[in-house]
Symmetry: C2
Subunit: 364 residues, 2 copies
């Protein structure tokens, strides 16, 4: 029997990822570790070929199609291990024949570019590196002879986000790891979307890949089995033992999102959370946002810093006292970063805003 | 707060994998889903760069060295996603330069051979395919000019197991997925050992790779980042977000093994479990073992069948009534397979033996 485990204190979890998950999802995940589906067995010790688990995988795949409002006639969904970093290699390994176009908007985009260059010709058609990735490049041109254009929808480290996506005549591939299912988008403009689960979708250990069928047809042949998207699609994402538990928690999280009203409902809450926090950053005399182009500010990762960095330890003391966790900026950029993923309650943002106001009252 | 979840009925879990895990490990895993390390946060929603998780990864790596009785001066340990199937590709991708030798002892060995052939010259130096993989090839020769010899220590589907390993003058690489840490071996004879976690080590979603440092030095350069063992070894298995929860459960399982007295203690229990079951198969007039060479019978996966297959539904009824689960043979071979992994109590084997005896009394 499970002893009564609980969180003694409410922590406001602004972690950039792995990030906050809904309480009810964590509860169900814990229960499945003991007794899954009333089998009197743990989910961790049953065959992935069992009917009970096959249903989980099917639902986890279907929920992606549902939330993106696309059909199984047009797109396939699989879950793999290895994180988005493995996709940096798999995308060009499967699709780069002639040349590929990439936009460089930060650390993760740069890593994707580096991998693609190991596999073929790559043109960086736009970049915001000139201004420390503080904006999203716009109005760039992409010729029709590229195999695909690769973009990164949201940049966790620099706190920028595409508000509209480039209109191009080549297949559009998107690393959506850090803002997937946070807002309504037209998924049909993408030929391939991938996302490490550990922000809005679930825990670390599973990566979702959604591929348009007519794009998949263009993929290369003679590939290594496990690195060939076709292998996994043909096998319904069960070619070999999948990351069973991570995919289960993804399924629970996508179910929760549906119950919450889906992407359009969560988008409104996410916009309100971001509006509250950016308004305070802009109003408060002690802070400044780090993104140059305000219109490109991310609704997921809000990056800011103290105007007087000598006061950092004082600010740190205040937010720690308020049980706030995970707002230190990435080690490459410093400052602060509050990640407002789907499962973060608006109450946590209000607590952070109060702490910032208290800080101003005390130290201005 | 966690509601009181429990298993209502004791199920005897003979699943071939993902396989049975210790009750106390499942309990701790469930608790970590709610409140990990008294952080008032779930393990599923904290940064893998947190000190608390870095300690988990370090311990999970160290415990492998401890159980193999080797030192961190000689070997490195990492955990990746993708399962053993990804290692079928990564081993030749990193190490196959001139030619590699493989032994074919079943389905998994065949898959490893297929991947290696996509990457270079491969010689199958021994095979038991001639007799449906019912034995382990012995006394074969391997020239000194191979980059490595690849073997599969235990064959889950056919129920065979190397009792001693080939003595060769080239680096020995072993897929140990299904019998790792089940028995004392001299790990120093291996240059690389890999294992999907989901049998004796933990849940699905993490794969352990242990590599000798002097072998790693021979690996190729210019590789794709995520498929290069050096990437992960340099980063302490934290180059990118690892499969956080699966590695945690591996750590718990390896801790449990240590508490149980380690590999030499579990080996004695595993031998007794296998002895009990094989003795009954050989004694009972209704059954026969499927492995031709009795000396190669696996202590992990015991494969057998009814002499009169028309009675299958009768036997199935009996073992299901006894709350036995997971003893159907692999779909490629049929019959029955009882997997006796480390966490399976000897009591479960006794229950199966009793059911077999009852079956004989009723239907002989």
């Amino acid at each position: 029997m499970l002893s009564n485990v609980s969180k003694k204190v409410k922590v406001h979890n602004f972690s950039a990822g792995p990030g906050i998950l809904p309480e009810e999802v964590l509860q169900e995940a814990a229960e499945a570790c003991i007794n899954f589906d009333n089998l009197n067995l743990s989910l961790l010790e049953i065959s992935h070929r069992s009917k009970n688990y096959e249903k989980v995988m099917e639902e986890a795949r279907q929920l992606v199609l549902d939330h993106f409002e696309v059909s199984a006639d047009e797109y396939d969904v699989i879950y793999l291990g290895g994180g988005a970093s493995l996709q940096f290699a798999m995308v060009p390994y499967n699709f780069l024949k002639n040349k590929a176009a990439y936009v460089n908007t930060g650390v993760w985009a740069s890593k994707a570019i580096k991998e693609a260059k190991l596999l073929g010709n790559v043109d960086v058609v736009a970049s915001s590196e000139d201004k420390k990735f503080g904006y999203i490049p716009k109005n760039f041109q992409v010729g029709n002879d590229y195999d695909y254009l690769h973009i990164t929808s949201n940049n966790t480290i620099y706190g920028t986000q595409y508000k509209t996506f480039p209109k191009v005549n080549v297949p559009l591939v998107c690393d959506m790891s850090s803002d997937i299912f946070s807002r309504k988008i037209d998924a049909k403009q993408f030929s391939l979307i991938y996302a490490g689960a550990q922000k809005n979708m679930g825990p670390a250990g599973a990566t979702m890949i959604m591929i348009r069928k007519d794009f998949l047809e263009k993929s290369k042949t003679g590939l290594l089995t496990m690195l060939d998207y076709k292998t996994h699609i043909k096998a319904g994402s069960m070619f070999n033992t999948p990351p069973v538990f991570p995919v289960y928690v993804v399924m629970l999280t996508l179910r929760w999102l549906k119950k919450m009203g889906g992407v359009s409902a969560i988008e409104k809450i996410n916009e309100e959370k971001a509006r509250l926090l950016y308004a305070e950053i802009d109003r408060n005399s002690m802070f400044e946002g780090t993104v140059i182009a305000k219109e490109d500010r991310s609704n997921m990762n809000v990056c800011f810093r103290l105007k007087n960095e000598a006061l950092e330890s004082e600010f740190d003391k205040l937010w720690k006292e308020a049980n706030i966790s995970g707002i230190r900026g990435h080690r490459d950029v410093g400052g602060y970063r509050a990640s407002l993923y789907n499962a973060l309650p608006i109450e946590s943002v209000k607590v952070l805003v109060e702490v910032m106001q208290e800080f101003e009252r005390k130290f201005a």
